[in-house]
Every structure is written in C-alpha cells, then in structure tokens.
Symmetry: C2
Subunit: 249 residues, 2 copies
C-alpha cells in the first residue's frame, strides 16, 4: 500500500491511501481501517511532506561504517522548521561553505511505542519513505559540534514523496544522483543495524509516536551539492525524492 | 506580565495572561493584544508546560565555560516526547547509570523570526521561563555521541512553571536545589553569550517560530539526581520549577 500526505483545496492536509482511481482519506494512521472521503485519482492530488506539524524526525548518526563493538547508533532530532517535501527547493545559506546530500531510508511510525523489542518493532511501523538529511559539513564558523547546527538549516530535512507499506527495508536498492549522475549506489542490506533493531533501539530512549520518522543513516558515498543542482534520492519500491538546490536570496 | 499555558476543564490547553483576580486567555502570542475569555483567578488554574504540541525546544551546548574564540555555541533539539512541566515526575530509566539536572533559563519566542541581529532579537522574544535539561551522562552503553540520546529520554525536558515578560534575562539569579540543598547558585551575567546574541545566532541556522524555546545552557555546578529526590530550578523573577525524581516502574 502506498500512503501519502495530501494537501486539499482547502489548504488542510490529510493522510491518504494512494490509488490510481480512488485515493481514500485515512482518518487514523494507527488504525488504517478507518477510512474517510474518496479523494479522487492519485494523479490529481497534491502530495506534501509525509509528516504532520507534531511529528518528530529522528536521524541516526552512523549506520553504515561498522558497528565497532557499539551497542547502537547515536541520534538527533531534525527541527520541524527544516522539513520540506518532494519538489521543494533546498536553500543553501550564505554561511555554508560545503553542503552534502545524505540519502537515507526512514521508518514511519504507525503505532506509538516505547521500549519495544526488535521482534515487536515491525508491528509499530507504518511503512518507509525516502529521506535526504542535507548537512553543512563546513560552515566556516568556529563552534562546538558544528554538525548539529549544520543539519538544522531550513529546508535541510527532505522527506517523501510517499510511504510504502509493503517493502523489505533491509534489502532494497538505495541510489542518489546529482544532475542525473549516479553518486550513491548501494543496498540497505549494508546497514549495520536493521530497521527493526533501530526502531527498538531508539524506543529504549524515547516514546516514538504515530507519525514520527526514524531516519536510518546515510551510506559513505556522498558528495557536495551546489546551487543549480537537481538532487535525487531513490529507494527501490518507494520512488524518487527530487529537489532543486538554490542559493539563499 | 506573567504568561502560562493552562489546561481547561475540557482538556484543551490555551495560553493565558496570569492575574490574581482575572486571568485572560491569549488568542495569539504573536499579538498579545488579542484577548479571549476571562479564565478566573490564577490560583484556580491548572498550569502545564509552556509549549504547544508543535513547539521546537532548542538547547545550547556550552554557554558558561568560556567562548574559547568560538563564533557561537552549538545546539540540538529536545524531542517533544521528552517534555514535561512543573510538578511532573522525572523518570529515570533502568539503563541510565548517572543522570544530572541542568538548570537553565530559556527564551520563549513570541514572533517568528529568521536571521535577526542581536539588536532585533528582543522584539521577537515573548519572555523567559525555567528549564531543567535533564541528561544521562553515563548510559553504560557503547555508542557514538552518547550525550544526544542521553538528553532524549521521556521526561528529561522540564519546562515552566510560567513565562515572565519583564525580566533582565542576562542579569538574574539562577539557583538549583536537590532536596532543599543548594547545589547551583550563580547569575546569568556569567553566560558567554547573552539572550539576544543566542536568539540571533540560532536564527542564522533555523527559523524560530512563535511558541519555540531556546534554552541558554547550563552552568558548571551540577550534580547527579536519584530516585526519591526533589529537584528545583529557580530563576529570580520567574519562579521555581519543582520536580520529583522516580525510577522507571
């Protein structure tokens, strides 16, 4: 099943099950059986970023470069103000010297959970979406832990375009392109920790709520992006997240 | 003026201007002139944490131990699931070996802003509140950047009890007590960066929205807390944030 966040003509945003002929509003993503209006064919709908105004977006720090005896990866929270969807522009502020794209897959939480085991985790996941955890790696500023502010800029949290519920998140192709040139070409089976392990791990620290995202970390092959670029993150089975890159005005 | 977040009998939460006889609902904290219902005397109201479900809580990493030639402090976002208010219990999870309290003052954003100068910052601040940025400093786990998950636990973001709009945030007493014993006793004039400088600095990275908090960092004198403790954070001119500490059940 393909799920998306839809902007209606009224400006309101709702969750919907996408279908070529009859996309259906979902009244509750904790209970997919609760259906609302027929919204019409998927092609006529306006898709927006697949989170609500109260979603928390958790991102892993390190999931592809070896476990090194670690019990699990660290993580941080991307500010709501940083989040955009498919097609929206990534805006490079003037103080950023080097900005990289970070292609990832994210688990979207369906049922609120706390301290679940890896075996229990899957039942709490709605599905998976594409993520670009854009990061300024050189700000030209002297600060402590500069990677944290460098991930916080407006437009640096890119999510979408849809949520796929039927997917093996631990064995799917993950690719990224800059202006059509393939830069990242890998498979999620190379992640150190599986989706189930990560959702379980993060849930040991914090309650994961319906509508939250857990982004599973970026592979090593990444490159800087510049104004004028088109950057694409593609997860086989989900789709492609495409965003132009522009300089701040 | 004293402002608080109030839970009504209906379960709804609203902003209110506190007054001994006639507390008034505030319909818009970007425009304090828009007043709603008379809610009755302040003493009869139920105060809850002074943030909404869509607020972002930004916390500084380092504002009291010297600038060391730095351009500004780093920062991170506290998850919404970690936030509690005055009187609620701080719950220590079993995997935490050492947990410290971190008493702070926070600027509450009134008017949404982006890339404001220090001179412009004050006009965008609604007021100031007390914060306890509870942190697990030893998790007994091998992970990278453990301080980030160690600040993310449910109940580890303590805010309130009220927002004071008339205060010099850069020259006020900041104290904290464990079971009545004073552990932290300092003044905010010892912070490296002033409130105006910090709000300006963070706004260079991200849009600060009405209802967001920027927590200004903790002084060096802090101590571990344990189940059974009562921890208090007091900012002169605002009030005292009191929370019992309990072990996870």
């Amino acid at each position: 099943m393909r799920i998306a966040r839809i902007r209606l003509g009224s400006g309101d945003e709702v969750w919907a099950r996408l279908d070529p002929e009859h996309s259906i509003e979902l009244l509750d993503i904790e209970d997919l059986g609760r259906e609302g209006r027929d919204l019409g064919p998927a092609g006529a709908l306006t898709l927006v970023k697949p989170v609500t105004a109260t979603s928390t977006v958790v991102c892993l720090l390190g999931n592809w470069k070896g476990r090194d005896g670690r019990d699990g990866p660290s993580f941080f929270v991307k500010p709501i103000s940083s989040l955009i969807g498919d097609g929206e522009a990534i805006v490079l502020p003037g103080i950023c010297r080097t900005v990289v794209y970070e292609p990832e897959i994210a688990a979207v939480i369906g049922r609120t959970c706390r301290e679940v085991t890896p075996q229990e985790a899957r039942a709490h996941v709605l599905g998976w979406t594409c993520v670009n955890d854009v990061t300024a790696t050189d700000l030209g500023l002297n600060t402590n832990f500069p990677f944290l502010p460098g991930k916080s800029f407006d437009t640096f949290g890119v999510l979408g375009p849809v949520i796929e519920t039927e997917l093996d998140p631990d064995d799917t192709a993950l690719r990224a392109r800059i202006n059509g040139r393939v830069v990242t070409d890998t498979v999620t089976s190379r992640m150190n920790w599986s989706t189930d392990e990560v959702v379980s791990w993060v849930s040991r620290f914090m309650t994961l709520r319906s509508g939250d995202l857990v982004c599973l970390g970026t592979p090593p092959q990444i490159e800087p992006i510049q104004a004028g670029d088109l950057v694409e993150v593609e997860v086989a089975g989900i789709g492609t997240l495409r965003n132009p890159v522009v300089a701040a005005g």
